[in-house]
Symmetry: C4
Subunit: 227 residues, 4 copies
């Protein structure tokens, strides 16, 4: 667990590095599937005071197994996503500016170009608001369940992120670092999609064959990007 | 007073750190309620030359009690706010770019998401222009009175900031640091609200139950965010 | 002259510091009125290789008096402005992003708030394109004459800057440093004016009495801002 | 070749310096015309781990002549451009934010001002999408051939860059450094053109005589900008 705590700590510290967070508005977690435990940032602790020892270890029933701090207030959301998406190893939540602006606008991000298609296969979805009952009953848990429900008949590996309406983005990946990587990409494509719509209000998504080409040159059996 | 001067100095130095000011376009003050004295930045002094000793100590009648510099030209505005809002300990004024753009546009900032709801309960208001008579009689004092009048039947703790039309923002908090914190939040939500309206011109404020959830998970008796 | 060369060098180095220039797209000059000589940046020399010795000394007939480099290609524009505006001591030209965007759009910048009114009394003008004949005859000199002609019945001290259509801004001040200061302010108000129009497409300029208040609390006999 | 590898390495490292790339989303190459070999960045290698030795040497038949890494996935595009444009010595591809937004919007960048005219003579073109057949047959090679075809009756020296629809920009120059220089300029003019259209939706390109003046004072027999 010490290695995972170190890794999740480092991944958390990438959020201010990539300017994805203001103050404490973000959190990264990572899971050890064998042990059934995940590590997450403590709630409301400043990034410049954070240490690897501050990380909180949780089990998949939501019990704190180790740590002197309360876990992130979004822990229950992470937990539901881990339970439903067995192939992922890390999750990120931020209020990064451009992705959050799309979430506030209540719109998914159309795939306008190859930058998005390199990582996200199609439009990045925006899920609905929770109902008053869902909020009052168990806000953070139901946020996770809503995301899980949206993906129940979809490929969460090919679409490693989602926007929650009037709230902000969640991304995930094979580990905490890849989840942060996808959070950076999301912010960048959110910015370019908004500017692109301003430059051409009638813009259409990139042709499907171009999206396919870019997604599959980086992913799957026939990938040839990288080393 | 030396401790308060140090604190107000440090809080002032956060304004350039958070990129809320260009040149000398901002000021922070903090009050000692027991002594009835407040400390404020001197007028027009560069941030990179500022020292704790340069801070100016004022009483609540507007007399300079200590300090070799003239106080901020906005001192009379701070003074009226301190007199009317007994629960606050610090005030910030800046011309931060996004908040000032909303002020110039003469619009309050609708609460489009949880980022705003975490700190500001509802729409951040924009108060009217002063009349010609109010400007000529006592511009800075009347700016303070206008803000005070706006809040006379409202909760200034749940809405720790305001925009002054064609001018810029004021924020406050339990001390000078919290007032700066709220100034940073205001700038960030002002930015996201503008982008959000561009992404969806028909966007509506976040549902009230979502605003309630986020505001009250951070504030009040049932708060559970943080440590 | 060595002191003026040092000063103009330092003022030039503020342009990259304040992010007003990309590559070599800007220049600052300063004048010694007694000697009738002005100092200006050499043409096309990188800021990170610039030294005080590289500055070029010119007389008001356009002759190079000292210096191993060619002066800025915009030297003839500076010269005409110096001849016509006897109370100024420094001039700046940049392609700073927001001010240039307004220049390209062919619009003056309305005075939407106190930030602009603190430095520029009213709308910052955008002068017309030169004609084909004016360009071919003496492009840089005629750019200066066009600016001078615009201000012939106006107060160039109360309006220390101008936009040249499809080109970019010029600002001036009592010395090279104040000219740079005004270039920074211009960029900032250009940014906020554009954002402000996006937030409220029907926005109107700030009331005249508010502009007066802010301009005259910083300028003239009754100023009380600063020390 | 060691000198060229060093140069191409240094030119690649300018991409993060000028904030033109996120992660590994860009590549620079440079060619030795006498040897008929070009040097290019390896595919998917992080900029902060890159060394001059990592550069890949290719011949103009697309064979790797030297290097322990796979070359950039865009190598075939660079190759076609080198074969068709004999006067260039370096090529850059990025996903820089503003240029990519125009590419995604499917629009060329009109020449709204002298900043663009100083480097690009006229509107920076946006070429069409490849067909499904062209993508499936040889995506990267056909991207190069499409660019080459567009320029077959045009001056690729006077227009040292192009946007590929739904993808991003390519620029070139007499060597790798000039190609990067043009990539920076492209990003800057893409930003200003978008803002300029927002400030004035009816904006027209700069008058031809002004474009001519600026382009030819920096280029060709009668240039007088610089030293």
């Amino acid at each position: 667990m010490e290695e995972l705590k170190q890794q999740v700590y480092e991944a958390n510290m990438l959020l201010p590095k990539y300017k994805l967070v203001t103050f404490t508005w973000g959190n990264v977690s990572g899971i050890d599937r064998e042990k059934g435990l995940f590590v997450i940032k403590p709630s409301g602790v400043d990034y410049d005071k954070l240490t690897p020892e501050d990380m909180v270890v949780m089990d998949l029933e939501g019990n704190r197994v180790e740590g002197h701090y309360n876990p992130s207030s979004d822990t229950a959301t992470h937990l539901e996503i881990y339970k439903a998406f067995p192939k992922i190893g890390g999750i990120v939540h931020t209020h990064s500016s451009w992705a959050t602006s799309w979430a506030q606008a209540g719109r998914g991000i159309p795939c306008y170009g190859t930058t998005q298609a390199d990582y996200f296969y199609g439009e990045i979805p925006c899920v609905r608001n929770l109902t008053k009952e869902e909020i009052e009953e168990a806000y953070e848990k139901n946020t996770g369940l809503l995301i899980v429900d949206y993906f129940k008949d979809k490929d969460y590996i090919a679409m490693p992120g989602v926007l929650c309406k009037n709230h902000g983005p969640f991304t995930w990946g094979k580990d905490a670092f890849e989840a942060v990587h996808n959070a950076v990409v999301l912010e960048e494509v959110a910015k370019m999609a908004s500017r692109c719509e301003r430059i051409n209000p009638d813009v259409k998504p990139a042709p499907q064959e171009l999206q396919d080409k870019h997604y599959y040159r980086k992913h799957g059996a026939n990938a040839y990007y990288g080393q």
